[in-house]
Subunit: 659 residues, 2 copies
Amino acid sequence: MVLEIIAIALLSLLFALVLTISVLRKNKGNEKMQSIASAIQEGAIAYLNRQYKTVGIFAVVIAVILYFTLGMITALSFILGAFFSALSGYIGMMVAVKANVRTAEAAKKGTKNALDVAFKGGAVNGFGIVGLGLLGVAGLYMLVGDPNLIIGFAFGASLVSLFARVGGGIFTKAADVGADLVGKIEKGIPEDDPRNPAVIADNVGDNVGDCAGMGADLFESYIVTLIAAMLLGSILYGPTSEYVIYPMIVAAVGIVASMIATFFVKVKQKGEKGIWSALNNGLIISAILSVVGFFFASSMLPNSTGIFLATLVGLVTTLLISNITEYFTSREKGPVKEIALASETGAGTNIITGIAVGLRSTILPVIVIAVAMILAYNFAGIYGIGIAAMGLLSITGMIMSIDSYGPITDNAGGIAEMSKMPKNVRKTTDQLDAVGNTTKATTKGVAIASAALSALALFAAFVQIANLSAINIFKVNVLAGLLIGAALPFLFSAFTMNAVAKSAKLVVEEVRRQFKDNGIMRGTKKPDYSKCVDIATQGAIKELMVPALLAVLFPIIVGLLLGPEALAGMIAGTVATGLLLALFLSNAGAAWDNAKKYIELGNLGGKGSEAHKAAVIGDTVGDPSKDTCAPAINPLIKVINTISLLLAPLIIAYGLHAF
Amino acid sequence: MVLEIIAIALLSLLFALVLTISVLRKNKGNEKMQSIASAIQEGAIAYLNRQYKTVGIFAVVIAVILYFTLGMITALSFILGAFFSALSGYIGMMVAVKANVRTAEAAKKGTKNALDVAFKGGAVNGFGIVGLGLLGVAGLYMLVGDPNLIIGFAFGASLVSLFARVGGGIFTKAADVGADLVGKIEKGIPEDDPRNPAVIADNVGDNVGDCAGMGADLFESYIVTLIAAMLLGSILYGPTSEYVIYPMIVAAVGIVASMIATFFVKVKQKGEKGIWSALNNGLIISAILSVVGFFFASSMLPNSTGIFLATLVGLVTTLLISNITEYFTSREKGPVKEIALASETGAGTNIITGIAVGLRSTILPVIVIAVAMILAYNFAGIYGIGIAAMGLLSITGMIMSIDSYGPITDNAGGIAEMSKMPKNVRKTTDQLDAVGNTTKATTKGVAIASAALSALALFAAFVQIANLSAINIFKVNVLAGLLIGAALPFLFSAFTMNAVAKSAKLVVEEVRRQFKDNGIMRGTKKPDYSKCVDIATQGAIKELMVPALLAVLFPIIVGLLLGPEALAGMIAGTVATGLLLALFLSNAGAAWDNAKKYIELGNLGGKGSEAHKAAVIGDTVGDPSKDTCAPAINPLIKVINTISLLLAPLIIAYGLHAF
């Protein structure tokens, strides 16, 4: 069975390759477009190389430590996980920077053609990630025959994805905030105006943050969840039982279903509705096909009905979370309009209302996740929670494709603007981009929910591996662990938020410095784009270390000082507030963004009105919230989980036993 | 022993009475000052009457339900708790509205005199509250002889304090934001300008929010903690043991120590430093005297050293938390300057940096509380946690006095401005007010820490009363309870935040409407102050019900559906995120406020600069954060705890037993 699974993983990679070729064969536009595109490409590659150099040093140090403490297999699978995670980031980004200019060119011929190119580009990312993930896990499992030995693979992937999320997140928002504050607010020039010295950095940011960062994030969620479900199967039913294979089958079914569904992503209606329903078709068809597949796959297990229902719980959770997120972040719905309306009384009330919307948006997803957990447990025991998490992530291939098309069209719009293409091109890319903003928000909601559910599966695996019979928070050390764990996402977000503020300040100062030369504003002199890219890169790399160290050190310290049960308490605390904080920051950010866009459509005075100025400030606050802090919490939760899993034997052996 | 305790409670009330007379005998200024003061007074009384009418209806309904489910004694002690809580709010507010104008008059003769009046006014509040609290608890205990029967008193106090905090918080910030947005930002007139139609409402808000609200809050913390510690003593050592008496002795010792310490609150140095050290002297002397008293008091118990140390842990926690809070919110320290500096690049970066500072400020208090909990437990078992919480709150009399003088001087400044008193008066009150802003922030920090620690004591009491041997979060229902509990403070804050936004919008519209009459801006026509007071009152009363219902209904639903152990999980989740969210919102808000004040001192361009405009927006966001949302979380945590304690027998009897 494992061989068939590997075959499907390879098929997914082949599919990604075919899509890549199909994208590359599209017309890449005129010389001006190409020169802009290659500036973006160079910046993105330069950033990614530098990021992975730093990550590489960090990873080698950890690999050496792992080698001496936990042995060769763990060290090697850690390195492999780290490498695959980095590779998935590269793939997504490389295709995105090729697809953007081709999407701009295709937009000349209308929405249908543009969506085709952008979606294919996104799908390379989607199917590359799931293919690589399944290949890695199934391949390693075939080699070592025990999921316990490949926890290192999960840890490697989580750690690199943490770096990618934090670093990419800081870069993209430092550049974006920097470009907006001086360009839009101080100088009053439009988005993507070529006179803005930070404009290339801003577009680079979309690629390294939204494409490479999101790619590494979902890659990590995918394989960590897969391994968590397999671990639970192994602990409960033995390392070679069919319960260990089943999670991989769920993944394989999801891949095949998503692949088929891509052929149904076709624009049939005009406008944003048409784009939205094309993408939604893809999602629904892949979900339906998956359900059919799960039904047959689960029949291989003794308690097939329970397992099938647990898998279904996960899939339904995906759809519910994505609908809830859409409600709170869509331009058409109440919450965003409420924020837009509050902008009329200034930036203060805009931000207060946005914070309120973000806070309010947390309760329903939490209840959905709590109910999903209880149902999955009742259907198939602890194993059911792992399976539900896997069900949630089974159609990652499709979700990632839908997500990645967004930054590609965003970039296409930028290229269209900078190369002064006809107005209708920009209009087409704007339409695509608007839908992309909502899909981006819903994908983030799904990614957060998946992080929480897979963290719960990992938590269960940790409890088993650490040989704990209960996690009793009525013990003071465990309660202390819970409180400290709960505080960790707050501290972590403080660092990422502050990193954006600091790096953005540097970009702002550089942009202001360049604008002092009047020639740039008059358009007679070309700004020095690469300087801004450099500054954002340096800022991101510098600020990336502390949060990553926090994630690695906290579990070790708490585990050693307060014991394994307190560490489990800490994990629970981190999952709880991590989930809440991520939902709050992500949804508030997206709602602020769309409130601004709602006004830009001509509502409440439109562009240039006082309400619009207030909404721009709200968007500035929302940007790092949704694109830096919130996404970085996902890998944080998983790094804490996987490192705890890895170190459980050491903590039990060497920890203080005061409790 | 109980009689001696009651005598000290009465002494505290007598002391408050003497202080009241001493304040009332001060010169109350000229006619203009008096007319303004009485406008504020009328507004405040009108609001408070209306608030307590609404609360009264709610309380009667609950009392009837309690009578039929839990019997007469619980219903009566609930009503008594509610009444005492309301009374403590009234006392604080009534004296504050008399002391404000007298402080303004005294400020003519300099800082020393002004501080004397303001501090005495605050001390009426402080000693009124602790006197009433100790009298109620000790008196009821003398009558019924079992702390289990007076949980209703704690619930009554918590519920009314929740209303006072939410309602007062909404009123004060709706008025403040409304006054600032139109007055300061749109019209460019200074704070407390008599032309601003919302100026009286703003000053009323200081009284109903900061005085009455804070009074009800600390009253509730005080008695809830007292009862929690007594309950633990009763459960572990029997309802008439000396362990039940000891917490009341700690309270009595703290009262006597604080009373003596008030005589040392004298200004000896010029400027803000002198004010700060006068107040700090009061705090330190009351702490030292308390320690001596605790040492002798604890000797009555068998394990005297352990008990003494546990009490000490609480007192040290107070001092640590107040220092940490001061670091994050003082104008002299790094974090506030960082926010001020970020204002130079606009409101966006100001707010991002403020959020980062608020998030960062949570970790140290959490670690302090976790360590305090572990130490107290090691010194004196579970009972130690209750005692530590009581130690923390023992000097509430002094803390509340220091806190309450703030809004009194704030009001005095307003009266000075509106009645056009000489400039040096305003300068004196401004100095007092600046120190008051920091003490307000540190008191809030202490109130939050006390809420968390006393919630942990209540949590322990709940576990005992519900007969649970462990709270195992590895059970899905308990983990679900934890997640839902963790989400509750987010949802609750969403409502309170939104309520401010909605009510502020109404005030803004009214102020704008009045300003359309040019006579008002020219100063030839008096604005209609009472209209703004009415609008803020209506807004607050209307918005106050939903959050209060949330606090009451969530524990009942979770307890009945998911069982008592899940309810304990829910309590832990609410305490964890409640603590974090309250610290975040409170500290970020205070830091934004002081960043603005730092700029107003002439730094970074001073008043009127772009940085200042940005900082004003930050302050607008911080206002509801620190004065509405954060303070309301304290009683929320305690309402959930006390209602769970009360309903434990019912939940065990009638809950679904699916888990």
